[in-house]
């Protein structure tokens, strides 16, 4: 029982991270019809920013709560800036290029970020220890050991998902964003400032990725320059499985992917190295079954 509970908690943690990243993919696709593959590396960038901020705050002798605040705000801010910059400088000018070119371009932007971290961060080739800022220990609830930090992070992640949902559906900016997603030209003729809304959208999506980076660092107490690549592929898979452009689909996809990984580890411990193989096979099978995702928007072919 306790073992199963442990697996469930781990899966939820992973799923929250994947869901937050997948949410970015789906937002970008919904608004601009692009896949921004550098998304995972934007997350890494945020996590490294958080590491620097937390270390600096600790060196200045500030209390832990301030350290956490510094880490989170730096990660979110840096990721948002980077995401907005990429969209303004590279994605907007190329928006009429073939999708393949854009996909390749964002993959290369990701490579640039990844390599820049590896080369220019002190000792960047090796994994970096992320300071433990959250209260240690945990409590046993019904035979399941619950880590406090894990619980806090899952709740924080869910709160962020709710916040993004609120921004998209309840604010003026969200309305502008949805208008651009629905029909770019009409939105522009109705006075939506396209060149402001798009970078802001990318900032919003990237900010969630930056937060995911902090979560990942705090929970696994380790970050490295290459972690964004696999997360990007997984986040992309999650967004695709859920159905691109659908916020809940992305979150569903994220938890589904984490659930599959955890199920493999729990059911077949000897094959735990193959957990990603199994999960990706499942993803490919799922999109073969539902070629536009589980929660697909209904669309007919325009001829």
């Amino acid at each position: 029982m306790s073992a199963i509970g442990q697996y469930v908690l781990n899966g939820l943690m992973q799923g929250t991270i994947y869901g937050l990243v997948a949410m970015g993919f789906t937002i970008f696709f919904g608004v601009m019809n692009v896949i921004k593959f550098s998304h995972g590396d934007v997350m890494t960038f945020g996590a490294f920013g958080a590491l620097v901020a937390a270390t600096a705050a600790a060196a200045a002798g500030l209390p832990t709560s301030v350290q956490i605040l510094a880490a989170v705000s730096t990660a979110v801010g840096l990721a948002a800036l980077l995401g907005a910059g990429i969209s303004r400088l590279l994605i907007l000018p190329l928006r009429s290029a073939p999708p393949l070119n854009l996909l390749l371009m964002t993959m290369m932007v990701g490579t640039v970020i990844r390599e820049a971290i590896r080369l220019f961060f002190p000792n960047g080739t090796n994994s970096q220890r992320f300071p433990a800022l959250l209260p240690p220990g945990g409590a046993t609830v019904g035979g399941v050991f619950v880590r406090y930090d894990g619980l806090i992070l899952i709740v924080a992640g869910l709160l962020l998902i709710a916040l993004v949902h609120h921004i998209i559906n309840r604010t003026r900016f969200g309305l502008a964003m949805r208008a651009v997603a629905e029909d770019q030209e009409t939105a522009r003729t109705m006075g939506v400032n396209f060149f402001r809304v798009v970078p802001l959208t990318f900032a919003l999506g990237s900010a969630t990725a930056g937060f995911a980076g902090v979560i990942s660092g705090l929970y696994y107490s380790e970050i490295n320059y290459g972690m964004g690549l696999l997360i990007a592929v997984i986040g992309f898979s999650a967004a695709i499985v859920g159905g691109l452009g659908n916020l809940w689909g992305a979150i569903l996809g994220g938890y589904l992917f984490a659930g599959l990984q955890t199920a493999v580890v729990a059911a077949l411990p000897a094959f735990s190295e193959y957990k990603n193989v199994v999960a990706f096979v499942a993803v490919i099978a799922l999109i073969t079954w539902r070629p536009t995702g589980l929660l697909a928007e209904r669309a007919s072919e325009r001829v």
């Binding site: 590279l90 390749l104 290369m108 640039v112 691109l244 193989v277 990706f280 070629p291």
Partner: protein, 408 residues
């Protein structure tokens, strides 16, 4: 529907199209331009591969870049294309002579020959990608995985005791295994489109790598060792002696790779000129319209995917045999991206663009030692610049004209 064709004259019987003397003279001069450009390129390649001095390499590269811009500006490239199209057989002869010339100049340069063979391996895979991406419009972000299928097939055959399979059969088997493993992806690829299809191949590429890393039978992260090729009784680890000259044993591999690349170029060219190429273009440009005109989308997509994978698998088997060692690290997502970059850099759908692009992408990091550490960074920046500044690549594909006698 706009389509391209390099030359229309060859389809029409010569005597059916009376040619003015002036046109014929222009064609001959075009061919002379073509031969001169090929000779210059061969010289530059041989020099670049052999040169050691960093400043010399860099200045040659800058000179090549300027020459390229000038050639594009003053329509030399167009003249070269016309010249080559007007004289198909002399063109092939000139290319073969140029390749042999490079080989003779570099005959004792082990590392240079190894690099040349690697360029040719990449070019072959990218020709396969040209069929998939450029003609049929199938996204394939796991070309390195199919290269790996071929490589691991060759390695596994070498490991198997008691079974002696000739290396030629091993290379062909490498292609077959790549097709067999690729066939797992056929159904997902046929059902999905656009980004969904891109993800299928992306996920497969990552999965392939994770699988190799975890699989102890295939050597895990440490990889496998391979013996050199023996073809028709000739051991490829021996130096070649021809016409009183000694060639490094890597020349064997260069010749083999050259044969494979030439075969791939011929195959892609034949496809392009045939009705199959026209159908593939139709499938890429508008699936719905193609379907309306009675084309079976599935058939043409499967054909393109299979042909591309055969080329990748065979190239992979030779590559593994040549380097004598393979590991999962040789077949990562990064390598797949590099191959897609070569195709786009060369000009998507133009088979000749693949060669200079593969040369640049493979050679540049090896020759400029001072960028060794930064090579991935600079490579990524270079690809971004190309995508922003010149999205159609070095040699953009021309529009096909299906009416005889009219040049595009």
């Amino acid at each position: 529907m706009l389509m391209r064709h390099r030359s229309t004259q060859d389809e029409v019987p010569r005597d059916a199209l009376p040619m003015a003397a002036g046109v014929r003279a222009r064609r001959t001069s075009d061919f002379a331009v073509f031969a001169a450009v090929v000779a210059a390129c061969a010289g530059a390649v041989a020099f670049l591969v052999h040169a050691e001095d960093q400043r010399l390499v860099l200045s040659t590269l800058v000179a090549c870049g300027i020459a390229w811009f000038a050639a594009a500006r003053f329509r030399v490239i167009a003249a070269v294309e016309r010249g080559a199209a007007g004289h198909p057989w002399p063109t092939r002869l000139v290319l073969v002579v140029a390749c042999l010339g490079i080989l003779v100049v570099l005959r004792e340069d082990n590392f240079g020959l190894l690099m040349l063979a690697t360029v040719l391996i990449y070019a072959t895979v990218c020709l396969g990608l040209t069929i998939q991406l450029g003609y049929a419009g199938l996204s394939n972000f796991c070309a390195a995985a199919f290269l790996g299928c071929g490589g691991y097939t060759a390695a596994a055959l070498g490991q198997a005791e008691g079974i002696a399979i000739p290396d030629l059969a091993g290379i062909l088997l490498g292609g077959a295994v790549a097709v067999a493993i690729g066939s797992l992806l056929v159904l997902p690829l046929l059902r999905t489109r656009g980004h969904y299809a891109a993800l299928t191949t992306l996920a497969f590429g990552v999965m392939f790598n994770v699988f190799l890393d975890a699989n102890e039978m295939l050597g895990g992260p440490q990889g496998l060792k391979l013996a050199p090729i023996t073809l028709f009784g000739w051991d490829f680890s021996n130096d070649l002696s021809l016409f009183g000259m000694t060639f490094s044993f890597y020349a064997n591999y260069v010749l083999l790779c050259l044969a494979l690349t030439a075969a791939a170029l011929a195959l892609v060219g034949l496809l392009d000129r045939s009705w199959i190429g026209i159908r593939l273009d139709a499938v890429r440009l508008d699936e719905v319209a193609a379907q309306v005109f009675g084309l079976r989308i599935a058939r043409w997509k499967i054909l393109a995917f299979t042909l591309g994978n055969v080329l990748a698998g065979m190239a992979g088997a030779i590559y593994a045999k040549m380097t004598g060692f393979i590991a999962p690290n040789n077949f990562t997502l990064g390598d797949s991206l590099m191959m897609v970059s070569i195709v786009i850099l060369g000009g998507i759908g133009n088979r000749w663009g693949v060669l200079p692009a593969a040369l640049i992408v493979v050679l540049l990091p090896e020759k400029l030692q001072f960028i060794q550490e930064y090579r991935l960074l600079l490579f990524a920046v270079l690809v971004i610049l190309v995508l922003v500044l010149s999205p159609s690549g070095l040699l953009p594909r021309r529009t096909r004209t299906l009416v005889a006698g009219r040049q595009a």
